[in-house]
Amino acid sequence: MDTAKKTLYHLGVFIVLLFTVLISIFPIVWVVVSSFKTNAQILSSPFSLPTAFSFKAYQAVFKQTDFLLYTVNSLVVSVVSTAISIIIYAMAAYVIAKYDFKGKDLVYSLFVITLLVPAQCKAQPIFSLIIHFNLYDTKTALVLVYLAAGMAMSLFILKNTFMSIPKDFSEAAWMEGSGFIRTFLWINLPMAKSGLATAGILMFLGNWNEYFFAMLLTTSPVNRTLPVALASFNETYSYNYTNMFAALTMAILPGILIYSFAQDQVTNSLVASGIKG
């Protein structure tokens, strides 16, 4: 390439990448910055910087709404559901990866084909099922529904993890008289840490961010999760933009924090979620 062409190429690449960075973080930065401005400042100019740095809006959100309760709800539902699903899927993935038995292919393909089912299309049947179990408007309902959400991807990730653990370790354990459960719990599970972390983070983020079923299956504020609460703030704060921006900032922060601490796992899980197709 001659110099002019090369410069043009680098300029083009720079512009495309700059655009990508801007659209990815500018809206978020704008929300965070706006949460420190006064209502009047927000209305008069969207780009002005805050004149004073105060957390008043954040305090107000905690005082005026049950923000803490919603956060705790989200946390409880996400953690409990993720913990149970990790156990369930680790068990299933383990036997699928390590043993040969009749019906294995059928069972595994049934598990994985669930990926093709858009969650929303089951909305009404699950709504009825939850009412049938007398669980409408409970956190238990959300825990149960979220169990199913990460099935295909978690099994896919965990099966690959268990398959990559050499059989020698299990065989050595059997020689020493270790039983089925012990071999699973003490030999294989500790060696599957990275896969468990990837699947766990994937499911936790999914549960933490879930809106559709939380909206459909709960009504009372006691059981409200953060994403649903956020939508309801729209009415509470229809004229108090500062507080709304503060609430938004607090709601998106945990996801970004988790990502910054577990970047590789989040990226891997996202790739895995694509490969499945």
Partner: protein, 293 residues
């Protein structure tokens, strides 16, 4: 009873380990899908048992204005997702593959919109597109003073405003294509360079054809996200103005709220079937079942 052999014991453990997963499968996939299929042919309000009505729900659905609008929207959105969206993600992948200065930073930052809740994302875009103090109008006003369009609530802007909430956020496409690019044996590139091929030629004739699988997968992911797109509509335009931004999940939720369960499930069936059609068509088009190397 005879004592179990070691093999039988193991088999028992195997199925014991599978049992919880099978229960979840039955309860949250098989039962709901069977209910979905069956009750989509019935009139059902939840209080009384479903009454078989044949294709009535489907006939009503296809005749409804909101469904017609949703279907047209979905076609247009799918076309945009399958072309522009996938193109943008692939372009970023091709750029990052060359590892230009700061590529790691771009990849990291590009991910961020995907780790926060869609509900929060919808709220953020509500403010970005706000008519009076929104970010977009703020930018435009520096060039055109006094500019005022309420993007989410005026026709025909609302459709494009909703489109912009996802159009460029193609990090999944980028990561998938990047994975395929990194898997290309480097001697293939070297051989091409020795033969005198330019970078553009290598990209078009070697890299892109070898990324057939990930691009196909990306098209499926991108379009199926359009079929189930809910939050970014429900929390912004609610399908309006008119039916400008209507989508099938909104129709489904409306029907549930109105206790028209059979009708809701006919809408659910359409989502399920469209997803399957999409998978089959894209698989064929990208010859995704044939191995590449």
């Amino acid at each position: 009873m005879k004592p179990l052999t070691a093999r039988q014991k193991t088999l028992l453990w195997i199925w014991a380990f599978l049992l919880p997963c099978i229960l979840v499968l039955l309860l949250f996939y098989l039962v709901p899908i069977l209910t979905l299929v069956y009750t989509s042919f019935t009139k059902w309000d939840g209080a009384n048992p479903p009454v078989f009505t044949g294709l009535t729900n489907y006939v009503n659905l296809f005749g409804a204005n909101d469904f017609k609008a949703a279907f047209v929207n979905l076609l247009l959105w799918s076309a945009i997702a399958g072309t522009l969206h996938v193109f943008f993600g692939t372009l970023i992948a091709l750029i990052l593959f060359k590892e230009p200065h700061g590529w790691k930073f771009v990849e990291t930052v590009f991910m961020i919109p995907n780790v926060i809740s869609m509900a929060a994302w919808a709220m953020i875009y509500r403010f970005v597109f706000n008519g009076s103090y929104g970010l977009l109008n703020g930018i435009i006003r520096t060039f055109v003073p006094g500019f005022a369009v309420n993007w989410l609530f005026e026709s025909p802007y609302a459709f494009w405003a909703v489109t912009l909430t996802w159009l460029f956020y193609a990090v999944v496409v980028t990561l998938l294509v990047l994975g395929d690019l990194k898997a290309i044996p480097s001697d293939l590139h070297e051989a091409a360079r020795i033969d005198g091929a330019g970078e553009f030629y290598i990209t078009m004739k070697i890299n892109l054809p070898l990324c057939r699988n990930s691009i196909g997968t990306s098209v499926i992911c991108a379009i199926s996200s359009r079929i189930s797109m809910y939050e970014t509509i429900a929390l912004t335009t609610r399908g309006g103005p008119g039916n400008d931004t209507m989508n099938i999940p909104l129709i489904l939720v409306n029907a549930i709220n109105n206790s028209k369960y059979g009708y809701a499930n006919a809408a659910g069936m359409m989502m399920l079937l469209l997803g399957i059609v999409l998978l089959v068509v894209v698989n064929k088009a990208f010859r995704m079942n044939e191995s590449i190397y």
